[in-house]
């Protein structure tokens, strides 16, 4: 209820500012599109199917890139958690590469993987891998030693410990890492699609800039916001199911 009211309030505030500007002309009204203009543009693009196309293209890239990165982060996180030599070898390399802003590498991704889908998917995978790897690795490494002792004294083998204690104990941290990764994927898709893409929400925004259509830029941004909060809601729902028992219901 409060959520819906807050969203409606934000929409109302935007409408007030935009229509107020239209009436008073504080700035050129073209620069500040109204909800009506954005709605009308969306209606046109929904009818001709281009909006659905842009959305699907972006969503697919996000899902593929995120999926690859999540799989790699989980696998390497596990490796680092069970093998100290692997941890000592991997950590310095990853900690050196990690702080480099991924956007610095974006041109290289285009050179290496071409203008097609591969470069976008690879870029999203590369960007989202680091926070997810750090998050899963840390959660797996920081499992309470007392839980391991309790399980070992009930007869758990090394394998049992990993499967029945380390993984479930680390799960809350892993879920948070995945949520952060997904948020980042939506963040960087725009950058990836700014360069050499022929479809996608980033491309839609870029097109709005090139053809000077602020309404289209705003529409693209709003769609990214909607996509992001929809996915976040889905992840939160899964989280609550998976983590039942961790907090008071």
């Amino acid at each position: 209820m409060i959520r819906a009211a807050a969203l409606a309030g934000a929409l109302l505030a935007w409408a007030l500012v935009a229509y107020g500007n239209l009436a008073l002309e504080v700035m050129n009204p073209v620069l500040l599109p109204t909800p009506g203009e954005v709605g009308a543009l969306a209606a046109v693009q929904i009818r001709d199917g281009s909006l659905a196309h842009h959305l699907t293209v972006s969503a697919l890239r996000i899902v593929e890139g995120f999926g690859l990165a999540a799989a790699a982060a989980l696998a390497l996180g596990l490796l680092v958690a069970v093998s100290t030599p692997a941890r000592l070898a991997l950590e310095p390399v990853i900690e050196f590469v990690r702080p480099i802003p991924p956007l610095a590498f974006l041109p290289m991704f285009l050179v290496w993987f071409g203008l097609g889908e591969t470069s976008k998917v690879a870029f999203i995978a590369y960007t989202t891998f680091f926070p997810m790897f750090v998050g899963t690795g840390a959660s797996l490494l920081r499992v309470d030693v007392m839980l391991l002792r309790a399980a070992a004294s009930l007869g758990a083998s090394r394998r049992d410990l990993l499967r029945r204690v380390v993984l479930p104990a680390a799960l809350p941290g892993i879920v948070v890492a995945l949520r952060l990764g997904f948020g980042l994927a939506i963040f960087v898709i725009v950058g990836a699609e700014f360069m050499g893409a022929d479809a996608g929400l980033g491309n839609l925004i870029m097109e709005g800039r090139v053809f000077f259509n602020p309404a289209q830029i705003v529409m693209g941004a709003l769609l990214l916001g909607a996509l992001g909060s929809l996915v976040n809601a889905l992840l939160l729902m899964t989280e609550r199911r998976v983590l039942r028992g961790r907090a008071l219901p």
Binding site: D144, M146, L147, R149, A150, A151, A152, S153, L154, G155, A156, S157, D160, R164, V165, P168, A169, L171, L243, R244, G245, R246, A247, L248, P249
Partner: protein, 261 residues
């Protein structure tokens, strides 16, 4: 592994020394501990805090290796934790992602016991600790006393011959603590496990113990051993009870005084 079932195994602690590295120096924590716990006996380890009684329990559990010496269960030297030695921790250490019943079933499931049988076992031990109607709750929904009952049920459901208890009632309030002592003593009359019970409460030790070992202040050595001849149902206000209590208090106080000096 020793034979499981009702009844315990014998624990033999032979010449155990334990030293920890502290600021690059080796600091002794336990010195020359020789102790035999009989099958089905409840032995209390008592001593001032920091005397190494929990360290000794952790060595018997297999969580820590002794610096010298060894621990035998019946005739087999231990090399690590094992299902024949159940452990009950002060902080319960339940698995928060499992329900009460799933926590209790944890051991039998690892041992490959079939699911239906696991449920029977869990029901039986939850009955024993009076928590049957809480079987589907999660640990976070329970009070401290209830959590510790689950932990005891979990340890017993795995049918160990030895149960190691590290100040299990230390985090509970005084009333709950006495109730838990009574329950443990009732359960022990049925299960006859070999129990090593660490506590710093003299009253608790006199209430529960068949035999009671007082350790010296750090580094821990065996200072004195008492056999408590009070029978099964003990009265905390009986004159013989109080006599044991005051005698043991005197012995423990000598050690506490040494820590202060």
């Amino acid at each position: 592994m020793s034979p499981a079932g009702v009844g315990g195994a014998r624990v033999r602690i032979e010449g155990v020394h334990k030293a920890f590295a502290l600021d690059g120096r080796s600091t002794p924590a336990l010195v020359d501990i020789n102790l035999e716990v009989q099958a089905g006996e409840l032995l209390c380890l008592l001593g001032p805090s920091g005397c190494g009684k929990s360290t000794l329990l952790n060595i018997v559990a297999g969580f820590l290796p002794p610096t010298r010496g060894r621990v035998l269960v019946d005739a087999t030297p231990i090399t690590g934790p094992g299902p024949e030695r159940g452990v009950v921790f002060q902080e319960y250490v339940l698995f928060p992602w499992l329900t009460v019943a799933q926590n209790v079933e944890f051991g039998p499931r690892l041992a490959g016991v079939e699911a239906a049988r696991c449920r029977e076992i869990a029901a039986r031990y939850l009955d024993m600790v009076g928590l049957r109607e809480h079987a589907t709750k999660f640990p976070v929904q329970l009070s401290g006393g209830m959590k510790q009952r689950v932990a005891i049920a979990r340890a017993l459901a795995n049918n160990p011959s030895i149960v190691l208890m590290d100040e299990p009632f230390g985090a509970l309030d005084a009333q709950t603590r006495e109730v838990m002592q009574e329950e443990l003593s009732r359960i022990q009359r049925v299960e006859h496990k070999t129990i090593v019970f660490v506590t710093h409460s003299i009253r608790e030790a006199v209430y529960l113990a068949d035999r009671l070992v007082v350790l010296t202040s750090a580094p821990g050595r065996i200072k004195e051993m008492f056999t408590i001849k009070l029978g099964e149902a003990r009265d905390r206000f009986a004159p013989e009870f109080t006599r044991y209590e005051s005698e043991i208090t005197r012995v423990v106080k000598e050690e506490v005084a040494k820590v202060r000096e």
